[in-house]
Symmetry: none
Subunit: 216 residues, 4 copies
């Protein structure tokens, strides 16, 4: 929600502003990100920032929005028709991973919304985002279960959390520790793990003694 003033800026100036600001918020958690550093780097007046944006949070939210827009532009709408649930999951998160590879700054910026902050309005957004993302995953898995694609003993709620973590943090970590830039083999590994791990089309082994001795 920048002011009109911001959009009236010459394109190159506006883009430079966006790029430098994004880099700052990508490099530091929201609370530690510094408007002072941004204007110092840009060589513009501090007041300008407040002519464009209401406050620090306003700027940050705009950048998050921008990150989403760029992601969409870079990846395009995913065509997931005709794919089973595992393929769809893999492709969705692979898209995010590709963004991280191609636009690390914007990807890092997006991840800032998963961190806690002292800014209450940000905390609220974070909670809501987490809840929506969880719901999405749950819905996807629930549909799969109803379509008979999941083993019967899979708890959709729990699996949603596990799969999300694996595909969000896990994929990213796996890719970061690799020297090569090839995403496909990594995504294939995750897909295989998921397929074996959840699919109904594979035989059920009897569980061993299991967690019954685990301290809870």
């Amino acid at each position: 929600m920048p002011s009109e003033t911001f959009f009236n800026l010459p394109t190159d100036k506006r883009e430079r502003f966006v790029q430098v600001a994004a880099a700052e918020f990508a490099a530091h958690p929201y609370d530690s990100a510094s408007i002072t550093r941004i204007v110092r780097e840009l060589g513009i007046a501090k007041g300008s920032v407040y002519q464009y944006f209401a406050d620090k949070l306003d700027l940050f939210l705009f950048l998050l929005d921008e990150a989403g827009r760029r992601k969409l532009a870079a990846i395009g709408p995913l065509s997931l028709d005709g794919l089973d649930v595992f393929e769809r999951l893999a492709r969705m998160y692979a898209a995010g991973l590709a963004l991280y590879r191609d636009e690390p700054v914007w990807a890092a910026l997006s991840l800032r919304l998963t961190e806690p902050s002292r800014e209450p309005r940000l905390e609220a957004m974070r909670a809501e985002l987490a809840s929506r993302s969880r719901d999405g995953m749950r819905t996807l898995l629930a549909e799969a279960r109803d379509a008979g694609q999941l083993r019967h003993d899979v708890d959709v709620d729990v699996a949603a959390a596990l799969v999300h973590a694996m595909l969000a943090e896990g994929l990213l970590a796996a890719w970061r520790q690799r020297e090569d830039a090839a995403l496909e083999p990594i995504v294939d590994q995750a897909l295989s793990l998921l397929r074996h791990g959840l699919s109904a089309s594979y035989p059920q082994p009897e569980l061993p003694s299991g967690m019954s001795q685990t301290r809870t």
Copy 2:
């Protein structure tokens, strides 16, 4: 590494200090945690903190140590003998989860060490911890593969990252969204996912069309 002064404090005072300080660092990333807030909350003089600890980092490291000590005290050493790799993994992370349930403040504090910081000494520790933890997981999986417990197409490096994310972030998220406090069913779900997902004792399905169309 607190000073002797700190250990000579009356027990209740010292414990209140530890509790309030832990809460501060659990609630905020290291850079944003505020000693000013701690002393304000405690109602003591600012100088007192520096009678006890050399500086902010010294206090933080002591609290991390304390978190480790409490974890050990709460859980005891894990007995993992005779268990297969999946059981072992599940129990290790379940232990961490149990700590999070019983001592959420201390668990959150521990997780702070996974976040980046502008304090160089802390960054060094974080990098080392991450590297050690990654290596541990890799070693575990590599041993399992050599013992024939993993499917042959599993890439140990990638799987290590995926499994770690699933069991660290994933388990935690799954538990947090539940209202009940029972850990066992959640851990069992993860165990099952892992077993089906990685174990060699289950048949290999042929992969469907796969990632060949995925944008990389």
Copy 3:
């Protein structure tokens, strides 16, 4: 190296700042000089200082520079052509003395660079200044000796230190204890002492029994 901001200040405000800051650093060694006192005296916000200067040292170095500039402006470049070494020495130091008389604050400020400090960058500068100043004096005397203007038994290195002290500390002290403001008679006294003390054009007396009994 103040920021542009500082130079854009209204002249009177900037000059008042400079004067108050100079007075503070003139009155206290660098380590004890207090930015808090400066802003309290000026009645401005603490943050303002850091709009103008990067840090305490930056401010101090600017003031030292300013002192040099004012000295130059007040005295102008010295014309020492055609004078013998004693005249040249006397005039050089007399110039510093005149500055002290006319601008005691700025002179005191300059002398701060001769004091030790806990600021490493300042220590480095001090060491270098001392070394350069010693070398300058030595060179001057060495030239005089080569030109036959010095008695043959004069040790240039030792004489350099003695003469420097006499003309720096000594002249200043002599002038400070006088109520009148006339520099000339004082400088003439020093010149005479130097001339008799070092010049080759005066007869050599045989030294009395001398230092042979001195404890070393």
Copy 4:
């Protein structure tokens, strides 16, 4: 003026205290010297210092006294009988220099009294000391002049300041820049400079054009 408590201390403990405290005040100007550092180094309680001394100044003054006592003990009363004024001067300051060589800590401590401070009581003492020392030098030179040992054109007041600076700062600087430890040659140089510079037994040259063009 330490308390009785201090003198009742076991000798070795008391001496260690004195030595460490002296080192601190020798290493830092009075304002910057830190009692915290002293007790940290000694490993004693902070309160102890205040059981021995009323405050920081009280401790410092005691140490200054002690420095005087040690100087006297190390050097003994100077026997200056039968010497002319130049010899007497040289020996007096040479004694101080010897102290600096043998006991650099105590000598540095003594010099602290020549530095300005924010402690008003210290400032008063400094002024008084300077005045007394100046008077002593003036008296010495005045007697010499009355005894016909000084050239007639020597201004006793000015010469007192010049000679003091040369023998205090100058001698010290000359000795410090030398690698060898021999004091005698350095003192001889100063003696010679003084003798030629001030003595009545040497012919008066006519002064050259002189300071008449010097800006005052």
